[in-house]
Amino acid sequence: MKRSVVLGTLALAGLAGAAQAATLDDVKARDALNCGVNPGLTGFAAPNAEGVWEGFDVDVCRAVAAAVLGDATKVNYVPLSGETRFTALAAGEVDLLARNSTWTFSRDTDLNLDFAGVNYYDGQGFLVPSALGVTSATELDGATVCIQTGTTTELNLADFFRVNNISYTPVPIANDAEGRQQYLAGACDTYTTDASGLASVRTTFENPEEHVILPEIISKEPLGPAVRHGDNDWADIARWTLNALIVAEELGVTSANVAEMAAAPTENPEINRLLGTEGEMGAMIGLDNQWAVRAIEATGNYGEIFERHLGESTPIGLARGLNAQWTNGGLLYAPPFR
């Protein structure tokens, strides 16, 4: 009783007295991964009709849960707004934050986060109604702009308009759902966020063809899962789970053939090391040797995840672009499993 009162008091001060080290032990003891996700961004993280969370970022949570706990469903999804996400991570409310978060210098250092890598290379764009008659972001002088607060896009926006010497009025909003509503109500002329987010939001419009994403991409937004700074073992698990998904695509390991490939050593030693049929890679990150097999089984490799949630067969219809493997001219380049 007294302890809970004390903890509550501390939480009020913005700091829960959560254990800092050994997130892995906490997750195992709890037998569930607490994962911070977007409260609703189709394709990245949103509950489906059955109330089950799914999306590109959600699959990162599922892969880590599968690797650590052996079951991709053992995830508590915690929907977080742009403003609260880092506080929630720092306070120990979530173990992993997979919520379209841009990797920046100050977040990595001053905010005490550790980014496990990049799972989507993005950039900030502008969504406008075709009827506005604007074909370039530099024509947006005097525009009212819907912008999510507490994001890097908010700062990019200020910089972009300052550099181009044009004016705007910000309309601060809390999340994509509110942005969609305000934009469709005409409370702002344009909605700006990561281009992938704009493509996702546009698919939820009644008439998506009446809205265009302007060609200018005004920033680099490397989005990736983040963990607390200071627990390097846990950061390693998140980083290498993501790398395992990426390298699996490069090596041709899919959710369909992973069981077969893991049954016996193959000709390719790197596949063997990844799937635990050779060496002791699992023990090096505090897991068993089958961790990557379970992650790939649960979600498929990076390419499968992308195609399932964002690819050209989905309503969002994003091309791989920068997010192709380095062998195909993209930026995905997982370090070697060695």
Binding site: G17, Q20, F86, A90, N112, G142, T149, A174, H229
Partner: protein
């Protein structure tokens, strides 16, 4: 008959600390204080340990850094090149603005509704009951969101004001209601405007002087002097004369829609929908509580007062204004103070409609961009504490002035 012997004087024994009622209270207080200090020490230590574990220090230096974000309503000049401290100040002024607007409006609404709820007119009385119950029993947040939705959904976009045959037009050619906000004309101070300001100040002084003279005269002779019309004349006539003589030194900057590029209004001042929504919702919500306080205050004044006033020939309006309300104020003011405090603190719900109050700047974007949660929250708490103490301090002084003077 025996005389009771003096109890034997003994030295102080430690057992007296618990068993002797003279010392027991003191003992308990000392123990309680020690426990409280221990709890505080534990909390502070826990904080220090956790901050160290997170690798964070405690430093307010971030306030001097460049903010880098824009704010859609700034009462003082602000650009994204300014510091976080200035962004916080912008937020503080926005909070104080909506709190001041809300308190004044809530008082007016509350007093009217409270008086009308006691009306003998069945319809008026019931209407006020419906108003009070509707606003008291539905969360404030819903009212804020509702008013905001009505404002932004029912008004046209700026583009509708464009062209020869525009779909929408400005009220009196001056005020434009849009889904971005209400654009109102704003005075531009030209040459000679200072003279006009001095004339206005002198007029106000003269009007106050006239009111004092009229009251003294009435107290001395019993004959009332016209106050309202003379005051109005003193305020308006010299101003108009000087205004014409100086050749209209003050002009109105009327908002006009831009015909090229993205539609927006230039000129005038934009009163954001988020401000209006917050203002109206706060005023009506708190007004409902104030109405009940006013009603309680009026009912606390004995009915004999009303009858006595009627017997003296006072009409109902004057009875209320001169006899009932001044006495009711003694009951009304103390709970009114806490309503003002509530309203001021409730302005932090501004986040629901994207109004840039201090919680949205210092406690929102600044906190998020710098990661200084503890410092920001402490500053926020300190700000609300200071404002609340000032409000209750000022109103307590007022309360002492109107309180019943017992001699």
């Amino acid at each position: 008959m025996t005389i009771a012997a003096e109890p034997p004087r003994q030295g102080f024994r430690p057992s007296q600390l618990l068993q002797d009622s003279r010392y027991r209270g003191l003992t308990i207080q000392v123990i309680a204080l020690a426990l409280l200090l221990a709890l505080i020490a534990f909390l502070v230590r826990n904080l220090v340990v956790n901050l160290a574990a997170l690798g964070k220090d405690f430093d307010f230096g971030f306030l001097g850094n460049r903010a880098g974000y824009d704010i859609n309503q700034a009462l003082i000049p602000y650009t994204n090149n300014d510091s976080h401290a200035r962004a916080a100040l912008v937020g503080i002024l926005n909070t104080l603005l909506v709190a001041a607007l809300g308190c004044v409006t809530a008082t007016v609404v509350g007093v009217l509704a409270g008086v009308l709820r006691l009306s003998k007119n069945w319809l008026v009385g019931r209407l006020m009951t419906v108003y009070v119950e509707a606003f008291r029993n539905v969360p404030l947040l819903l009212w804020i969101v509702l008013v905001y939705a009505v404002l932004s959904e029912s008004t046209p976009a700026p583009a509708a004001f464009r062209g020869e045959d525009a779909q929408a037009s400005r009220l009196f050619g001056l005020i434009a209601f849009t889904n971005r906000g209400t654009y109102i004309p704003w005075p531009v101070w030209g040459e000679g405007a200072g003279v006009l300001g001095i004339v206005l100040l002198l007029s106000i002084a003269a009007a106050i002087g006239w009111r004092i003279y009229a009251r003294r005269r009435q107290e001395a002779t019993g004959r009332p002097l016209p106050v309202l019309w003379v005051t109005l004349a003193i305020l308006v006539l010299p101003f108009l004369v000087v205004f014409v003589l100086l050749g209209a030194p003050v002009t109105l900057d009327v908002p006009t829609v831009r015909e090229t590029g993205i539609a927006r209004f230039d000129g005038g001042v934009n009163v954001l929908n988020s401000l209006v929504a917050l203002w109206i919702a706060l005023a009506l919500y708190t007004g409902a509580f104030i109405a009940e306080i006013v009603r309680a205050g009026i009912l606390s004044v004995s009915k004999g007062q009303t009858e006595a006033a009627f017997a003296l020939g006072l009409r109902p309006g004057r009875t209320m204004r001169l006899v009932i309300l001044p006495q009711a104020l003694r009951v009304i003011v103390p709970p009114l103070i806490s309503q003002y405090l509530n309203l001021t603190k409730n302005t932090s719900l501004a986040v629901a409609v994207g109004y840039a109050d201090v919680r949205a700047t210092l406690g929102g974007v600044t906190m998020n961009q710098t990661g200084r949660e503890l410092e920001s929250i402490l500053l926020l708490g300190l700000f609300y504490l200071i404002v609340s103490l000032i409000i209750s301090g000022v109103l307590n002084v007022y309360n002492q002035r109107i309180a019943l003077k017992e001699r």
